[in-house]
Amino acid sequence: MNTQIRPAPVRRSIFVKVPPDRAFDVFTNGIGQWWPKTHKIGPADLDRPIIEPREGGRWYERDVDGSECEIGKVAAWDPPARVVLIWQLTPEFTYDPNLITEVEVLFTPEGDGTRVDLEHRDLERMGDKADAMRETVSGPGGWPALLQLFADEAAK
């Protein structure tokens, strides 16, 4: 009956003043230029994440000491319109080969630039990892305000 209900995906859009082919290139090949350095998996400092430019390619991070850690895979590679990445990181930012969530990014020409629409879906698959998330979101850089709001509401 209620088995069809799924949590809504995370959706984010942004407009960039460059054509789709450049936006696609910076998003994928240039991921090292914009990925937050604080979000890394390995113990060493992050050099940069790398997305292999093909369907079935790896998505991984390279650290300054040369070590590599998997982030996920490339599920679809359709430049300059679309890329689908498989995100296999738990809420604790560790790689789990059994966790498969999709991040689809669409690059659509708009005016003098490109609209970039990102959707991170299948989040219910992270459900059994939710406890771990408690630590992540309550830590520095997390988002305690919403939790507090909810806790206050729930406690009323």
């Binding site: 984010r12 240039g30 914009w34 937050p36 309550s138 509401e153």
Partner: protein, 110 residues
Amino acid sequence: MANTARLISALADPTRRAVLEKLKDGPRPVGEIAQGLPVTRPAVSQHLKVLKEAGLVSDRSVGTRRIYYIDPKGLGAMRAWLDQFWGTALDSFKLAAEAEAEKFKKKDGE
């Protein structure tokens, strides 16, 4: 902030807050949740659906019944975190993409 808005709007409804309150002391089936509430059982199911989509409530099957339970720091929090993560990442991506474009423009102009 779309997901934040969804969470807040899920909590803004007084009946939904009452439904959450019913779950505060432990998992319950929809029939028990509906008891004492001034709305019909289908309405309660609808509210549970909204709460579930916002990641605030989860459910599981026990025999033929479906049991709902509060998930205060589960998916809702995780999604809020991812929402924030991607928001920051895309802002940073925009800066990188447009800085690149500036560089190319300058080169072309020379």
